[in-house]
Symmetry: none
DNA sequence: CATGAATGAGTTTTCATTCAT
DNA sequence: TATGAATGAAAACTCATTCAT
């Protein structure tokens, strides 16, 4: 059929298609770049090789990202968004706050297990861009914490978690524990299964060391 | 031996003195270098400026360290040793295992509070030397853990901490929590006093979130 | 021919119209390009921005000029032709040779006063295209000089200018003086009015420094 | 003799010698660079080839000049100073103002005849560094003019040059004529001998075109 | 031991030009 | 004709390391 009664005229369709092509290629670049940045480090990763790896010309890279630095940030941001999404998705089906927490923790650990490159990117970012006031990870932190604060408050009001430690402290401590665990898993390796680790972490988070 | 009965034999004394001079300068270099590496990052820190800063010639640096990389490792190692010493010193006067842990945690947090450059050095190391199998921090980790394992085991045998979580898990979890807290304090700032933070951390470590 | 008896036959008219459209756009490109080349220099002027400035696509520029270099030459040539026309127009109404000279000098100075971009283009041309045997300015020089040689010869034959200096020398000297004045006005600024400058220049040309 | 009663102790002598070595090499670089900048243009002259040409490493160039731009300026400045010196030297032995002018004009034309590279450098400077408020040539201009103003004033007071044109105008006109002549000689070639040209220029400067 | 001049490999980014649509 | 995405060559500058003095 030449020109059906489609609501989107050819011109727009072309533009949309064009725009989609662009978005797809952008993402392909980000994915490959993230891997490389993580594998060999920001400084040692050169744009020429990245381009060759992607099968495009060096200059083409610059049609999608204005600089190596911006490309790097795009990688870090993409990772953070994926992580957030993974955690949300894991918690979402569960109504009970404690269950939400339980699944969120699990999803967090699992995400970095499956995407070790993003752990590396956090490190690279901090090391290479000290001038950025706060690393991307901590930019997202407050936003994430906002959502969980409500959950903890509700639990506290229901008397289901202790009241002698402010919610704010709890958020920090759980966050720090997970943050440290993610790093340690990555750098030193995890000796036990993710399930075991998750169970042990939750056991301590819930009841602490004392009997 | 050609050394006469002089209380300080000239030859040896000369050598010793020489050796001491050398050690002192080595340390001076390491201290200044650690600060610079932390402040501006490994890649942006150049040997020329470091030498100028120390008031010595660029070539002289190479009489003390064979390369920039080795100098950097020396900085990281020095930091780890200081940290270990600080923690040991804090725990040592206390006989009771729980008190030892209490003071050790406090000393750990305090050390990185007072030496933020060492937090940075860990980051720099991981970012710049991916080829090294494990970061220095994790090299020391097993050694440190060995000493604390005994403490936790003793507590468990005494029934003073829970038995349903293996000591190994406890060591990991406490370690990870502290590791995460140290990083977060450094990157995102600490909103409360060290004492408060310490108290909150210990409260959760001891009793968990549940009431 | 398929062209009906329309007053403007479609085919020819279309071609002519087409050709005119093309000429107009060529000129528009040259004008804008001349300004940009002059303002920011040949090397710093990029085809992409020029195209954007003109509201056309980068590739379209290449439908009108085979290369950046050729576009540049077109700009310089256009400038020279305008200058020549301005000088001719100024001299044309005057019959008396001395008056013709007087008005031509004035027109020359005025042209570069009003079109400083062409001064810049001469500079740019020489700096960027050393391989061209002679700059455009000097290509036109002989041609211009031919026309004026007759004027000077006539004056000399009439005994109205001195005979102890060959006309050739006079042409050179007057040309050089104007050339130098044009540059100096442009680069160092003119401290007096164009009229005053013109008068002073003519006074020296006519009578020299001596009383 | 090992260490004669020389007034300069070894240390100073070493430093002085070092400093002289450096000055000599600086000059060697400037000379070679001036030639290359003039021959192939500022933009097309790359530091790598210049270094190779000088038999030194690229990095060494940067020990003497902080950037390509600064090296270029050093070349232009050196040329201006040599020119000034040549003109001074030519005028200096003569007491009579008219003779001083006569010899200065001659020296000016001769200098650029023998150092065509400096003509090119003026062009290159203007073309490549439009941001510099005024080209080097015009920076020196006022300074040079200051010295000659006195000469012309004296002549005017003695009634040896005309009084109906201000000295300021005369300075400008003579300057512009020489400036234009220098450029034209360089770009279009000189058809007659320097002596002839000099004579013709002086004839017009002194007496103008009219009989 | 100490110096610091010399080295040269290594990398990001720009932009004129092409060509498939 | 017009477009603009893709290309890839080209060059300034840095800095760890060496070595003659």
């Amino acid at each position: 059929m030449s020109a059906p009664a489609s609501p989107s005229p050819p011109a727009d369709a072309g533009a949309a298609q064009e725009s989609q092509r662009r978005a797809e290629r952008r993402q392909a670049i980000v994915e490959r770049a993230a891997r490389r940045f993580a594998d060999i480090g920001y400084a040692d990763c050169d744009m020429g090789n990245l381009a060759k790896d992607l099968g495009i010309a060096k200059g083409t890279l610059y049609l999608y990202f204005p600089s190596k630095e911006e490309l790097f940030y795009a990688c870090v941001d993409a990772g953070m968004q994926q992580m957030q999404a993974a955690v949300e998705t894991a918690a979402e089906p569960h109504a009970d706050p404690l269950e939400r927490i339980w699944h969120a923790v699990r999803a967090y650990l699992e995400f970095f297990e499956r995407h070790p490159e993003h752990v590396e990117l956090f490190i690279q970012e901090r090391a290479s861009f000290k001038h950025r006031k706060q690393p991307t990870f901590f930019n997202y932190r407050e936003q994430i914490r906002g959502r969980w604060r409500a959950v903890y408050l509700q639990l506290q009001q229901q008397g289901r978690i202790r009241s002698d430690v402010p919610v704010e402290r709890m958020l920090e401590i759980v966050g720090n524990l997970l943050y440290g665990t993610m790093f340690t898993n990555h750098f030193a390796g995890r000796q036990i299964s993710l399930d075991e680790q998750h169970a042990a972490v939750m056991a301590i988070i819930y009841r602490g060391l004392l009997p």
